[in-house]
């Protein structure tokens, strides 16, 4: 049976009805990975215990036990979330050989929901990048065209879902790392509100921006996965006590009466005009579905990327200080401790990571702190206020996820600023702590385009409503790479 196009919901129904066992389902995906992943490289590692986990679910089902919402569903895990006993490297040489000593909270919750953890997916080195080319394990290819990048940094998770290697995967999003690869691979990616999902056990990049979320074929599946992983966790003090938990069955496929905002600053120069046309067509589809479309302004939008590239490297330079080669990972010994640090980190970090660590050290250093870091914190306030204002008039905001479709592998590799511009529409959601989702909405030159939907903090329900309505009326998400 062809499992490549199965949604989580469909797979769950087949398992519940007895049409298929979790073992057979998992074996099917494992076969696809072993036959086809050589040319895509979505996975860094495949779990040896996946089939055992699947059999355990089958056994529990046979006993009539009540099972979780993801019982028997194989899920891919971005290589920056700790799974006890797995080698977890964040695709970075400096974490080579590092074995997870405990489970991230999202992993424990997926297991409680019955998910089968199938393997670790590829990503940019330490999650820094927008193309998955900086991975220490080599690049991931876009399943739609293997000469193109899949986006990043969660490019392995996105490619794995697009290629039909898993029906769902976890990614992490600091400035677009779930939404942008989802857009470039033609699937659904959700960055939840800051605080909705615990980051305990996520290898930190920038702590005021990082958020874990699902990558799936459909909006409904996204809600099913979010329900499984969300909620307060005493081990992550930034996680929120939720008053509106996700209930997938409550999502209405109806946008009648909703007002959707189109930020004029997001449709200006710098975007491929063909991407704009596809996105505007999607906007019109939602208008036909009953939504009211309203032009809005986010006046500080043009400062978002500069703000992001001060705050993110500053936080990263601090977070990555813990990678010293002593307690885990790569180690290169020197004459004294200082030299050991410098050698380990100089050899273990990739070019982009070193670039950002130095950038962060610089903007945080005495004499420059006020001009860069403090200034960026102030502009972050202005960006947040832009959204607060906009959401007084609209229920959700629509924009492109990425200014272009997937580009050639190598094309932007040596031009960091060109690479950073790929995140221009996504970084704002992280800066403003709001939820954002990318939904496939068409093609340019045979490559997928994503529609980004943004909503108020903790209003993922509006994202699901708009996204599910769109998917109900279009068939972009049912198209698969050949």
């Amino acid at each position: 049976m062809d499992v490549s196009t199965l949604t989580i919901k469909e797979a769950g129904e087949k398992l519940a009805s007895g049409e298929m066992t979790a073992e057979a389902l998992t074996q099917n995906y494992l076969d696809r990975i072993s036959e086809q992943d050589e040319s895509i490289h979505a996975f860094i590692s495949v779990s040896e215990s996946a089939l055992d986990e699947a059999r355990a679910i089958d056994a529990r089902r046979a006993l009539g036990e009540s099972l979780g919402p993801l019982a028997g569903i194989p899920i891919g895990i971005k290589d920056n979330m700790l799974v006890q006993g797995w080698e977890v490297t964040s695709a970075a040489q400096i974490l080579e050989g590092h074995i997870g000593i405990y489970n991230a909270t999202v992993i424990d919750r997926l297991k409680q929901a019955g998910a089968v953890l199938i393997g670790g997916t590829n990503m940019d080195d330490a999650a820094m990048g927008s193309s998955t080319e900086t991975s220490h394990h080599g690049p991931t290819m876009n399943p739609w065209d293997k000469t193109k990048v899949p986006g990043g940094s969660s490019g392995g998770s996105a490619a794995a879902v697009a290629a039909g290697f898993v029906p769902g995967a976890l990614g992490s999003d600091t400035g677009g790392s779930i939404r942008q690869p989802a857009a470039l691979c033609g699937i659904v990616g959700l960055k939840p509100t800051y605080g909705r999902v615990s980051r305990y056990g996520l290898i930190a990049l920038a702590s005021s921006l990082d958020q874990i979320g699902p990558i799936t074929h459909t909006v409904e599946d996204s809600a099913i996965m979010l329900q499984a992983i969300e909620g307060y966790d005493p081990k992550d003090s930034t996680s929120a006590t939720l008053t509106n938990t996700t209930v997938p069955s409550l999502i209405e496929k109806d946008v009648t009466g909703m007002t959707l905002g189109i930020p004029k600053e997001y449709f200006g120069s710098g975007m491929d005009p063909r991407v704009r046309d596809v996105v505007m067509e999607a906007v019109q589809e939602l208008e036909r579905a009953g939504a009211k479309i309203k032009e809005i302004s986010l006046p500080h939008a043009e400062y978002a990327l500069a703000t992001y590239y001060i705050i993110q490297p500053a936080e990263a330079s601090s977070n990555l200080g813990r990678l010293d080669g002593l307690r885990y990972g790569y180690h290169s010994g020197g004459e004294n401790l200082q030299e050991t640090y410098e050698r380990t980190r100089g050899e273990g970090f990739g070019t982009e990571v070193k670039r950002r660590i130095m950038l962060g050290s610089y903007t945080l250093s005495a004499g420059y702190y006020d001009a860069y870091y403090r200034k960026a914190l102030k502009v972050r306030t202005l960006i947040k206020q832009d959204f607060d204002e906009a959401f007084k008039d609209v229920d959700a905001i629509l924009s492109p996820t990425s200014p272009t479709v997937a580009w050639n592998i190598g094309e932007k590799f040596n031009d960091p600023l060109a690479m950073y511009l790929a995140d221009i529409y996504t970084v704002t959601a992280n800066l403003a702590t709001i939820p954002g989702m990318s939904v496939p909405c068409g093609f340019v030159d045979g490559l997928p385009v994503g529609l980004q939907i943004l909503a108020k903090p903790f209003d993922e329900y509006s994202l699901f409503k708009v996204g599910a309505t769109f998917q109900d009326r279009t068939a972009w998400h049912t198209q698969t790479p050949t």
Binding site: E302, A306, S317, N336, E342, L359, T381, T433
Partner: protein, 101 residues
């Protein structure tokens, strides 16, 4: 935005990063180009704007400091991750030395 080779060497030292001599020029150009771009923020007058304080709302979270024993498996994995060890102890070089640089 001007950025000298010596600036890069100094930042690399602060960042505990060894950078090869031949890479210095590239980092010098890259950092100057990125800092030139983020310079854009200086256009904005932010004198009366408060700094963004905390992504989760800025409420402190307190708890009692209670010791919890870790299980044997967690302990074993943690120790096996050490790059150098003596028995179950992490072995590191001296933090302070008698030499002065």
């Amino acid at each position: 935005m001007k950025f000298s080779k010596e600036d890069v060497v100094q930042i690399a030292k602060l960042s505990r990063l060894h950078i090869d001599e031949e890479e210095l020029k590239q980092y010098q150009e890259d950092l100057a180009s990125i800092l030139g771009y983020v310079e854009k923020l200086q256009e904005l007058n932010t004198d009366d704007v408060p700094e963004f304080q905390h992504a989760a709302g800025g409420v402190n979270v307190f708890r009692d400091d209670v010791v919890k024993e870790s299980d044997a498996e967690t302990r074993r994995l943690a120790i096996e991750n050490f790059s150098e060890r003596e028995g179950d102890l992490l072995k590191v070089q001296a933090v302070f030395s008698n030499r002065t640089e």
